[in-house]
């Protein structure tokens, strides 16, 4: 039987399962059978090799997006006057040192 996690399962898993494992591998280590299964699948599946490369690339892109304040020189570089006034008003209305 191809019990989930067994050897036969590992040798016959298809793209749906492979993509689950490739995603999970970015978050936590796989067990040996899962690792073996997904590596075996990748040898013969170009689509899943692309999926793997692309979600890794997306991870990098998101990280760089999150660091963009360090080089940003776009229209998003400063608060608008309106936002600044709104925030100043919120500071006036706030209760300082409230316990």
């Amino acid at each position: 039987m191809s019990r989930r996690g067994g050897l036969l399962w590992a040798l016959t898993l298809r793209c749906r399962t492979a993509s689950e494992l490739l995603s999970r591998e970015l978050d936590e280590p796989l067990n040996k059978m899962e690792w073996l299964g997904v590596r075996g699948h990748l040898i013969s599946c170009r689509s899943c090799r692309r999926f793997r490369r692309q979600i890794q690339w997306i991870r990098k892109a998101i990280r760089i997006r999150g660091e963009s304040h360090t080089y940003s020189k776009t229209k998003d570089a400063a608060l608008t006057e309106e936002a600044r006034r709104r925030i100043a008003r919120a500071i006036q209305d706030a209760e300082p040192d409230s316990k």
């Binding site: 298809r14 793209c15 749906r16 399962t17 993509s19 689950e20 995603s23 999970r24 970015l26 978050d27 936590e28 170009r46 689509s47 692309r50 999926f51 490369r53 692309q54 979600i55 690339w57 997306i58 991870r59 990098k60 892109a61 998101i62 990280r63 760089i64 997006r65 999150g66 660091e67 963009s68 304040h69 080089y71 940003s72 776009t74 998003d76 570089a77 400063a78 608060l79 936002a83 600044r84 709104r86 925030i87 100043a88 919120a90 500071i91 006036q92 706030a94 209760e95 300082p96 040192d97 409230s98």
Partner: protein, 203 residues
């Protein structure tokens, strides 16, 4: 209350606190906004988070130890606000039922093969800093179901690990895996359709 905390003294202290908060806004407002803007894809949300940060800083001014710079302290508060925002969205119960059921259903055929196999991507190193690409990326993030995008951003942008995510969101291991998997499937396909399919790559 001690004797020197007379109403008058309180008023002076509160005035001084507000003065400080206003000078923080003057000095650090734009930097905080840039930080918020790099972490959330909507401008109004970034503004709200910056506002919440200044109010929280004013209220917890006593806790500022002076060990780090004011800006570092403010950024730490802001980051906390951003994570908290994602956490609230991620644990929102407003998502339609069945959203997370059979998560990969629309991506795979009955025989478990890709319905629309991933195409080849050309990914030069500098495209991530390209403004046009960033707009497409933000658009794709905004099109994802909010509860899925929020978990994904906590993982990929804020760098929380799965243990921290499970605890903060109070969701099961399986639910977390399904959401991250679905986020990657959705974002990958959206980028392919809206960016890579139009940049003239070779198959």
């Amino acid at each position: 209350m001690t004797a020197d905390r007379s109403p008058q003294a309180e008023e002076t202290a509160s005035f001084r606190s507000r003065e400080a908060a206003n000078s923080w806004l003057e000095e650090h407002g734009d930097a905080l906004f840039r930080y918020a803007r790099s972490r959330v894809s909507r401008r109004e949300l970034a503004e709200d988070l910056v506002q919440d940060t200044f109010v929280a800083a004013l209220q917890s001014r006593d806790q500022y130890q002076g060990g780090s710079s004011v800006r570092t302290w403010l950024i730490a508060i802001l980051r906390h606000k951003i994570i908290d925002h994602h956490r609230r969205v991620a644990s929102g119960r407003a998502e339609p039922a069945g959203l997370l059921e059979g998560s990969s259903g629309d991506f795979f055929a009955d025989d478990d093969h890709w319905k629309r196999p991933p195409a080849s991507w050309k990914t030069p190193d500098d495209i991530v800093e390209d403004g046009e690409f960033r707009e497409v990326l933000d658009g794709c993030l905004n099109r994802m179901p909010r509860a899925i995008a929020a978990v994904f951003l906590l993982r990929e942008m804020e760098g929380l690990d799965t243990e921290a995510l499970r605890q903060r969101l109070d969701i099961s291991e399986g639910n977390l895996r399904v959401r991250l998997h679905r986020a990657r499937l959705l974002l990958r396909e959206c980028l392919q359709n809206r960016w890579f399919a139009t940049t003239g790559d070779t198959p």
